[in-house]
């Protein structure tokens, strides 16, 4: 993580000063990849620290936007083309 993490520690409204740790773990937390044993620490930090919680919420929202905006319309004949391909495979096997 870059310098922004260190700079942000100064804005923390949670006097425990756990911003740096929380921001280092934020990506894995949002990915659902933090070990169970680390969850309560970051959760309690996010509930106490507005700047970190706001950043987490923004990142979450951004991921949702990326997911929604990536939808594709499947060409109408793709399913039929696949079935025909499977038919051909079955008849030649």
């Amino acid at each position: 993580m870059g310098a922004d993490v260190t700079d942000l520690a100064g804005q923390c409204s949670d006097e425990s000063g756990n911003c740096q740790q929380a921001l280092e773990e934020l990506e894995r937390y949002l990915d659902g990849e933090l070990p169970e044993s680390d969850l309560s620490t970051i959760r309690s930090h996010l509930s106490a620290c507005y700047p970190c919680a706001d950043r987490a919420s923004f990142e979450e929202q951004l991921r949702a936007i990326i997911r929604e905006r990536c939808a594709e319309r499947t060409p109408p004949d793709l399913h039929d083309a696949i079935r025909r391909r499977l038919d051909t495979m079955a008849s030649t096997s």
Binding site: D31, E33, L62, I66, R67, R69, C70, E72, R83, R85
Partner: protein, 226 residues
């Protein structure tokens, strides 16, 4: 529901017709062959389980190839390969990860060879970029900035990412795969997946930020934008 003689390893679904077990699964090339199923039953099960995934596979193939015709070709080829090796798929294990692994290797064998170029990297400074910090400096609230980003721009921003980063970000953020699954699909160590995800997301955010600046959603003189 499980049918068949003791020793059969494969489950069948409720919709598969009753069948007479022939013999227990036998091992061929290190895998258990589903000898209890007829070809027709295997085809039916394949269609039930795999065809519902075709639309999503096409979405992934679009991000891989960035071309609708090539994406259709990759999906067709990948589904055909999946059908050929469906007897090796262990029912009850991770079907989606198995399919995406096949899609991934199919794409690489069909397209990457002909346009092979050195693995592209992202600039070192990308690690310091934060879209959040930049979006907060604009006139609009940062969430309004996000809402105004369009489909076309997200797709274009993803398309600009070097291939390995683009795939990692797509598999995680759009398909929702876990690090371990992405590592299996892309055949890379988990540490590499995490690094590609982290840097790929930063680069994607930077491209989206440039779009937001271009549309006057945030100020061009925001910190770290250069």
């Amino acid at each position: 529901m499980t049918t068949g003689a003791p020793g059969n390893v494969a489950d069948t679904t409720d919709d598969v017709p009753e069948q007479v077990p022939v013999e227990p699964a036998r091992e061929v090339d290190g895998t258990l062959l589903r000898t209890e199923m007829t070809d027709a039953e295997r085809r039916l099960l394949f269609e039930e389980q795999v065809l519902p995934e075709v639309d999503r596979l096409f979405g992934a193939a679009m991000r891989y190839t960035r071309d609708p015709t090539e994406a259709q070709d990759v999906v067709q080829e990948a589904v055909a390969k999946a059908f050929s090796s469906f007897h090796q798929f262990q029912q009850g294990t991770n079907l989606r990860a198995w399919l995406y692994r096949i899609l991934h290797t199919t794409y690489i064998s069909m397209y990457r060879k002909k346009q092979r170029r050195p693995q592209e990297a992202l600039q070192e400074s990308i690690d310091d970029f934060s879209f959040y910090d930049e979006a907060r400096t604009g006139d609009s609230a940062e969430y309004e900035v996000l809402e105004q980003i369009t489909d076309e721009h997200v797709k274009a921003a993803l398309a600009e990412l070097p291939e390995a980063f683009r795939m990692a970000v797509y598999l995680a953020d759009v398909e929702g795969f876990a690090y371990k699954e992405i590592a299996e699909i892309m055949d890379t160590p988990i540490g590499t997946v995490m690094s590609r995800l982290h840097r790929g997301r930063k680069a994607l955010q930077k491209a989206l930020r440039e779009y937001a600046v271009g549309h006057g959603l945030i100020d061009d003189d925001a910190p770290g934008g250069q």
